[in-house]
């Protein structure tokens, strides 16, 4: 169960040296929230944030783990360091990105384009090259805001059937476009996974790892009462525009409770949002012999942030209104509140600020490691103008529990809702950016 991390830590699979799992993990899947609370978690989170910066001292993960036993409590160590491995840790489920990477690097040279090797654009071209003309024509879509807006929290069947979502709790602009994940054969899927791993990053419990657990969750949901509208066949891949080192294109991947939206301009990530993550079931579940809990890392970071506030600070952060869902869900584009509510981060201690940054990292690390570092630096610089607000309880486990991080750029919302197919509560969450949503495309 640890091969993914092991491979990530040692390989150079994108054709250049990148920060690997060792330096990237904000935190792994947790064994449980209480352990988090008991630990002096701020130390480790500070470290984690630092480590997301590529040019930070190359602290090896092993050194850190040796010097900070606190990590054991996070159960992070389970997959990255044999010496501290804890059997209770929830597991990653993913096929090793390295195996897919091998084939990708083989096709990279074959593409022979001007695209730099190992970039997301080049991996996208490699994936495209594995497809026949039919699948390619489904994959390739026009770059437009209208197409970029075709994401949703809803299962595809509810968007394209007679139940097109309206405003508010669900829906969006229409059914997703693109190529169905379930239509890929083994080698095509392998090339896609290589691309996805490069676009979503290697942070344990986040990014690529989380997406794989997410797909397991939807399969699980389908098999446990959800029926055919759930599972991998409800996920779609689209390239809006042509992947290249010049021009604008978006890598879109999404399905039930998931939206990946990376916009690239001239080979540079211009926006990684709107990025939606929700999950049902929210508690740990077994799937094909692995234990999954896709959103555990994000939730733990939010809860730690609220738990780290004093009673007075919590009172300031508490919103008077009730939130049964996200404020800026699908379809609510460029509609950010003009006034920020809650507790201003500038009033927090440096330890508390680290908790805020760690919660933000839970989303920023859903993209390529070096891109995540760049974005996190921007958000860190804007931290003093950022606000934290919540509604409901600070545990964020009850229906209508809600937290928001609203900064000059960053916008992250998390909302706990009742179960739909299963009985336990389930969360929706969304990362937007006031400036770079859709890569800044507003019309």
């Amino acid at each position: 169960m640890c091969q993914a991390a092991a491979a990530g830590g040692s390989s150079d699979w994108r054709g250049r040296r990148v920060s690997t799992f060792d330096g990237q993990l904000p935190f792994g899947p947790l064994t449980g929230y209480p352990q988090f609370r008991e630990s002096p978690g701020t130390v480790s989170i500070r470290t984690l944030v630092d480590m997301t910066t590529p040019d930070s001292p190359s602290l090896s993960r092993r050194t850190l783990l040796g010097s900070l036993p606190v990590f054991g409590l996070f159960a992070l160590a389970a997959c990255s360091s044999p010496s501290t491995s804890t059997p209770t840790a929830t597991a990653s489920t993913t096929p090793a990105p390295s195996s897919a990477a091998a084939s990708a690097s083989a096709t990279a040279s074959a593409t022979g384009s001007t695209t730099a090797a190992g970039t997301v654009a080049q991996l996208a071209q490699s994936f495209q090259a594995t497809l026949g003309t039919d699948l390619q024509s489904q994959l390739l879509q026009d770059y437009s805001l209208a197409n970029a807006k075709l994401w949703s929290n809803l299962p595809q069947a509810l968007l394209s059937g007679g139940m097109g979502g309206g405003p508010g709790g669900g829906g969006g602009s229409g059914p997703r476009i693109g190529l169905n994940l379930a239509d890929l054969n083994e080698s095509q899927l392998s090339a896609f996974n290589t691309l996805l791993a490069a676009a979503t990053g290697s942070a344990k419990g986040l990014g690529y790892d989380e997406v794989q657990q997410h797909l397991n969750a939807d399969e699980y949901l389908g098999a446990n009462g959800g029926g055919n509208d759930y599972g991998r066949s409800g996920y779609y891949i689209a390239f809006l525009g042509s992947p290249a080192d010049t021009g604008t294109w978006e890598f879109q991947f999404g399905g039930h409770h998931l939206a990946v939206a990376n916009t690239y301009k001239n080979g540079v990530l211009a926006g990684a949002t709107p990025s939606f993550r929700g999950i049902e079931p929210n508690s740990a579940f077994d799937y094909n012999g692995t234990t999954n809990q896709p959103m555990a890392a994000k939730e733990a970071a939010f809860a730690a942030l609220l738990a780290g506030l004093t009673t007075d600070q919590q009172a300031t952060a508490k919103l008077s209104k009730t939130y049964s869902d996200l404020l800026l869900g699908p379809g609510q584009d460029w509609a950010f509140p003009t006034t920020k509510e809650g507790l201003q981060v500038s009033k927090l201690s440096s330890e508390q600020k680290k908790l805020v940054l760690a919660a933000i990292a839970g989303y920023a690390n859903d993209i390529a490691d070096d891109d995540a570092a760049t974005i996190l630096r921007r958000y860190e610089n804007e931290l003093d103008g950022t606000y934290v607000a919540y509604s409901g309880t600070t545990a964020l486990t009850q229906q209508n529990d809600y937290i928001r991080i609203d900064g000059p750029s960053v916008w992250i919302e998390f909302s706990m809702q009742r179960g739909i197919v299963l009985s336990g509560n389930h969360p929706h969450s969304l990362w937007r950016d006031r400036n770079t949503d859709y890569g800044g495309t507003k019309d």
Binding site: N153, G164, G168
Partner: protein
């Protein structure tokens, strides 16, 4: 922020309404018109639904509120969310509801609001929202004297005042004087404007209303009713199939003289009209009717008409039979009218308009189907045609009868869809009749032996 109704509706003028209604009538008569309004958009997070029924003096607002969100908004713990628990908290709930539903006229005067009984129903679907409970009640909104009751601020923020992610869908269920008798339309949504943090207030503009548009919409409804009511059409047509024939010794024989046939057809149609008009009026004005036996009797009436079309059962007394069964069909028509809960002038005009619509469509059907029948009656194939049609009607009637007695079956559902093929059938009848007519003319020109047919035509 003010949400307004769609422009097309807001800008509606009486003349436009008349034109539109007449256009509708024409379209319906042409038979190329499909009924049914688009359903309100489905939603994944439970939403509140407010449906306005615009009555003569008041507006009734039927409201469905998800109980989870109502609890969050009021802070009232409804525990198991049963009817009993809700009723136990009726006073608190009612006072919250009334505090957050306060329509005002455009000049700022408050409308009077009362709230009816609170009940609990289950809503949602397992696949989308999950199954959840909602509170159902009806508000009665009375405009202040002298104010424009068709343009006002809804003043509604139940639940959204607190649960800011909640969405309220507002629609018009019926608005007689606005010409809306079936087919609800969406008026707007009430929700938080995320940028400003303000909950939008909904301004309702129902456009101009008039008795004319109400009356015309009832005419259109009557037309639709016959158009969609395959059973009514089938009864009348089946009764008319043997009308151009002479009954001789309990068998249908040669064609009756055209004048006599036309007189008989007119008589049957008129008698049916008188019969159903009488009971439609009586039942609409309060005569008690039970729907199920009426529907079954209608199937029986078609069955009898079908048998009569094969072997004369009541030759010469068709007018009486048509009148009698007209009484029964009228009781069925009244169902539609009573569902609209109309009163006073609106009821009177509706009765007239609806009946006229039924009549217009009936006459249209007769006018389209009868001429080819009269022509074909002179041909040798008429016997087979008549018996085939009657048999088909009998089978359909039997299917309906079984379905209406509680045994749903494929025959009944197929018969319900007969209407879709009606234009095709009429087309075939006309083509056959014209071919036959032209053929006879040529033969007459060549002085063949078909003079009897020609003579009959000239009578």
């Amino acid at each position: 922020m003010q949400a307004t109704v769609p422009k097309a509706r807001a800008a509606r003028k009486p003349r436009a309404a008349v034109v539109r209604c007449l256009l509708t009538v024409l379209l319906v008569l042409a038979g190329s018109f499909a009924t049914g309004a688009a359903p309100a958009s489905a939603h994944v997070l439970p939403t509140s639904i407010v449906q306005l029924d615009v009555r003569e003096d008041v507006i009734e607002a039927r409201v469905n509120l998800p109980l989870d969100d109502l609890e969050s908004a009021t802070g009232i713990d409804l525990g198991d969310q049963t009817s009993e628990t809700v009723k136990a908290h009726a006073v608190e709930i009612t006072s919250y509801l009334l505090a957050h539903f306060a329509p005002t006229s455009d000049t700022g005067q408050a409308w009077a609001v009362t709230v009816g009984e609170l009940s609990v129903t289950e809503a949602g679907s397992a696949a989308t929202t999950g199954i959840y409970k909602e509170l159902q009640t009806t508000f009665t909104l009375t405009p202040p004297a002298g104010s424009n009751a068709r343009s006002f601020n809804l003043g509604y923020d139940i639940i959204v005042n607190q649960v800011v992610t909640h969405v309220v869908l507002v629609s018009v269920g019926s608005d007689w004087s606005g010409g809306v008798v079936t087919g609800a339309y969406q008026l707007g949504t009430i929700r938080l404007d995320t940028a400003s943090g303000v909950v939008s207030s909904l301004h309702v503009d129902l456009g101009q209303g008039s008795n004319t548009s109400g009356f015309l919409s009832m005419v259109a409804l009557g037309i639709h009713h016959i158009q969609d009511g395959t059973d009514h059409q089938l009864f009348l047509l089946t009764l008319l199939v043997p009308a151009p024939l002479l009954a001789v010794r309990r068998r249908w024989s040669g064609p009756a003289p055209v004048k006599r046939a036309v007189r008989r057809i007119t008589g049957i149609t008129l008698a049916f009209t008188v019969g159903h008009s009488l009971t439609l009026a009586l039942a609409t004005l309060g005569f008690p009717v039970t729907a199920a036996p009426i529907e079954a009797l209608i199937a029986v009436s078609i069955l009898i008409a079908a048998v009569h079309a094969i072997r004369p059962l009541f030759a010469g007394k068709e007018v009486l039979v048509a009148g009698f069964f007209g009484l029964i069909h009228g009781l069925a028509f009244s169902e539609t009218l009573r569902e609209l809960n109309l009163t006073g002038t609106q009821l009177g005009l509706s009765l007239l308009g609806f009946n006229l619509g039924i009549e217009a469509m009936q006459l249209f059907v007769v006018a389209v189907v009868l001429p080819p029948l009269v022509l074909l009656a002179r041909a040798g194939i008429y016997r087979r045609l008549r018996e085939g049609a009657a048999l088909l009607a009998a089978v359909a009637a039997a299917g309906w009868l079984a379905a209406r007695l509680g045994f749903p079956n494929v025959v009944a559902s197929a018969a319900d869809n007969l209407g879709g093929a009606s234009m095709l059938i009429v087309g075939v009848l006309w083509v056959a009749a014209i071919v036959l007519f032209l053929g006879q003319r040529r033969r007459v020109g060549e002085s063949t032996t078909s003079e009897r047919a020609l003579m009959a035509l000239r009578q």
